[in-house]
């Protein structure tokens, strides 16, 4: 492994200033051609509907200059760091240090998460942000089962999130339909059971189960598909769910969404200012922060449940089968593993956690509409999983924190957000396709010694 790397670094002669300059000039020229129309000229529909335009040659010049300078910097950086590939060999001491640090990082993060409502009790904004981050951590861990463990690229994960959210919202609104057998003509009558303060706790598992059912429904047709095809079909599935929600106005309210979704209760005790509320019962003054704190611990518990189930499943035969399937599906089948149940269970498990998260989202917001379930959400969750290193639980949590935190930091630059997000995704694939936490701990060990394998050495199945 070491020899070809050394060869490559000596084979490439250091480039001269002229070469760098020529390359930068070429990049600037390409940038000029690309942007002269798109940036140099700005079009807009005028007041009378007539299209008008104005020029922005200053911006154009600035961008072309930026490309020129950026190109020189990138080239210099590349020469300074040496050719690509030489840095894959990390000194063992650093790897050891990292693995020791990461062993303490997870408990430290957990303790911190538990203490967040105590530390930031008076900062509602931070609590809200914490809830948002934890929602994405949970979604990331759920998708990680499908993408990271089973190796099935799912671009429609948000569909299950939507199914969970709408299941909760609709069932809470109309009541839980219970079929009752009777002796008279229709033989089955449906009674809608209104759940009152227990709505969330009864409907949370129901939403998860419904989402899991949809996961199986999606899983069946795509059993034979692999890789890119699977990705596109899951994407189409996610869009179909969204379009149906958008257009089935009688049931879902279409683009107007559903409002007035019941808020969660502390096992039947509502968190409201009334005398029956938690504050009234405890005899303390009511504060809206109570609900935030409760929601925070609720999503933390749900996320930890997801994590715990995923970790336990990995040690069960089904989890082993997932990982085997990720590495090589054909070999897996040859060894007698039932691919059908393996794939379907992965889809169902991932979808179920998506459904839980969706129900939580609905109860937190009190309002849902199809706008919250676009493809961008799927891509964001997928990016979290990929950034986290596909399969690493801790990595996913850190990635969710980075991504959502980053999004919040650049809140002022709303319109550039997705642009930067896309760019980061491309750069990440070029720079570290295995994610920031690039280890994958093997689940099975031949000897007692536990080692982590650098993900660069792990071969990805066609998944």
């Amino acid at each position: 492994m070491a020899l070809p790397v050394a060869d490559r670094s000596t084979a490439k002669t250091p480039s001269t200033f002229g070469f760098i300059f020529k390359k930068a000039a070429l990049s600037a020229l390409v940038a000029l051609a690309l942007f002269s129309l798109m940036i140099g000229i700005r079009t807009e529909a005028g007041p009378s509907g007539q299209l008008i335009y104005w020029t922005r040659f200053g911006d154009l010049a600035a961008i072309v200059a930026a490309v020129f300078v950026g190109s020189i910097l990138v080239e210099l950086l590349r020469q300074w760091l040496g050719p690509a590939g030489t840095r894959t060999i990390v000194p063992p001491r650093i790897t050891e240090g990292l693995s020791v640090a990461s062993r303490f990082l997870a408990p430290a993060l957990l303790v911190f998460a538990l203490l967040v409502p105590v530390i930031f009790y008076n900062q509602r904004y931070l609590l809200d942000l914490g809830i948002l981050v934890l929602t994405y951590v949970m979604l990331g861990w759920g998708l990680n089962v499908v993408v990271g463990l089973a190796g099935l690229l799912d671009l429609g994960y948000v569909a299950f999130y939507a199914v969970g959210a709408y299941s909760y919202a609709l069932l809470a609104q109309y009541g839980l339909p219970l079929p009752l057998l009777s002796t008279a003509y229709p033989f089955i009558t449906v009674e809608h059971l209104q759940l009152g303060p227990w709505a969330f706790w009864v409907l949370l598992p129901v939403s998860g189960l419904l989402a899991a059912l949809w996961g199986v429904l999606l899983g069946f047709p795509v059993l034979r598909l692999r890789g890119d095809y699977l990705a596109i079909v899951t994407l189409a599935f996610g869009e179909i769910i969204r379009l149906v929600i958008l257009n089935w106005q009688d049931l879902t309210g279409g683009p107007n969404g559903i409002s007035g979704i019941p808020r969660p209760t502390l096992f039947g005790i509502p968190l409201n200012p009334g005398p029956n509320g938690l504050a009234g019962m405890l005899g303390i003054p009511f504060s809206p922060t109570h609900r935030l704190v409760f929601l925070f611990y609720l999503i933390l518990a749900l996320a930890l449940l997801t994590n715990w189930v995923a970790i336990r499943l990995r040690r069960l035969p089904i989890g082993r089968a997932w990982e085997a399937m990720r590495e090589d599906e054909v070999a897996c089948r040859a060894l007698g593993i039932n691919i059908t149940t393996t794939k379907l269970s992965a889809f169902a498990t991932g979808a179920m956690f998506g459904g839980f998260a969706g129900a939580f989202f609905a109860t937190r917001q009190g309002f849902i509409s199809p706008e919250s379930f676009t493809f961008q959400e799927s891509a964001l969750v997928l990016a979290i999983v990929v950034l986290g290193g596909m399969g690493s639980q801790l990595g996913v949590a850190l990635a969710a924190l980075t991504m959502i935190g980053g999004f919040e930091l650049f809140r002022g630059l709303e319109q550039y957000r997705m642009l930067v997000f896309g760019g980061v995704m491309v750069l990440l694939m070029i720079w570290r396709p295995r994610g920031l936490v690039g280890h994958r701990a093997p689940s099975v060990f031949l000897h007692r010694e536990r080692t982590t394998i650098s993900s660069d050495m792990v071969k990805e199945g066609r998944g």
Partner: protein, 305 residues
């Protein structure tokens, strides 16, 4: 019956646009085996470039429509082709040796970059243009007063598509580049050993795919009279469906699939419901992949262990 014929015409025109985009998907899949997720956004960029060029030409006082159309077509093809080249160079070429999902994820990122770039650069609002090509022919008028119309725009779209397809087929079947491309499709290593510049051929594939997408973008602009930054996503998935339906990797298949998707969508809108036309198109993608994974004209993929 007249209603049916009108929808048939509309469907064929829409199908030509999808077919032009689908060729880009199918070519790239054939040669590098990846779904170029950003291709739909390249189509959108093509539409924008055409719009801006058109606006500039009109404002400098050009009035002769055929010249305007020709210049817009050439500029749009050239600039969009450069976009295709750049995307390949930045986002896909460094990943050629990476694991299989990497180019797909990179392509999704690139798709976000392109669509949000045009949102930032040109604003989020829909950009309408006045009809450039007006007039048409009434083919048949029924007693009830329903007329089957064939507008000049529709003729232009179909004729342009046919001419470009003829040029493109000649390019692939008869030229040195076409031979290189087909060689790389079969076996890149062997092609490289025999002196084919694989990198250049792949770049050219992206360039040609983007140029055809630009034509589709311009035709879309002429036909519907508007562009917006988000139109690439749905059009891209539909064109991909067309490519899969026709058999991915097969060039006539892409065109056939495009026509089929255009017709299905139009008839679905006409006879069932307009709201669910996208659902119909996406469902076809799923159904085709389950029951006919090789498509209409595709070759079965042999799985080697």
């Amino acid at each position: 019956m007249d209603y049916f014929f009108q929808q048939l015409i509309n469907g064929l025109v829409l199908g030509s646009i999808y077919g032009l985009i689908a060729i880009g998907y199918t070519m790239v899949y054939g040669i590098v085996g990846m779904i170029n997720f950003a291709h739909g956004d390249i189509f959108m960029i093509g539409g924008f470039i055409a719009l801006i060029t058109f606006l500039v030409l009109v404002s400098i006082g050009l009035t002769f429509v055929p010249v305007i159309l020709l210049v817009v077509l050439l500029v749009s093809m050239a600039v969009t082709a450069l976009y295709g080249w750049t995307v390949e160079r930045i986002a896909y070429r460094p990943l050629r040796q990476s694991f299989r999902l990497a180019p797909m994820l990179s392509a999704i990122g690139m798709s976000f970059v392109l669509s949000n770039f045009s949102q930032v650069a040109q604003g989020a609002r829909v950009k309408p243009i006045p009809p450039v090509i007006t007039g048409g022919y009434t083919l048949h008028e029924s007693a009830a007063g329903f007329a089957v119309q064939l507008s000049n725009v529709q003729i232009v779209v179909v004729v342009t598509t046919v001419v470009l397809l003829a040029i493109f087929t000649w390019l692939v079947a008869r030229t040195r580049f076409g031979r290189d491309m087909r060689a790389c499709e079969q076996d890149q290593t062997m092609a490289a050993l025999l002196g084919v510049d694989v990198d250049r051929t792949i770049s050219m594939t992206f360039v040609i795919g983007a140029a055809l997408a630009a034509v589709a973008g311009m035709m879309y602009l002429l036909y519907y009279g508007l562009v917006d930054f988000f139109m690439g996503f749905v059009a891209g998935i539909k064109a991909f469906t067309a490519a899969v339906l026709g058999g991915i990797g097969s060039l006539p298949g892409a065109m056939l699939g495009g026509l089929a998707i255009g017709l299905i969508e139009t008839f679905w809108s006409a006879y069932c419901s307009v709201e669910y036309k996208d659902v119909a198109a996406f469902s076809i993608l799923i159904i085709v992949l389950i029951f006919l994974p090789t498509g209409l004209l595709g070759r079965p993929e042999v799985e080697k262990v």
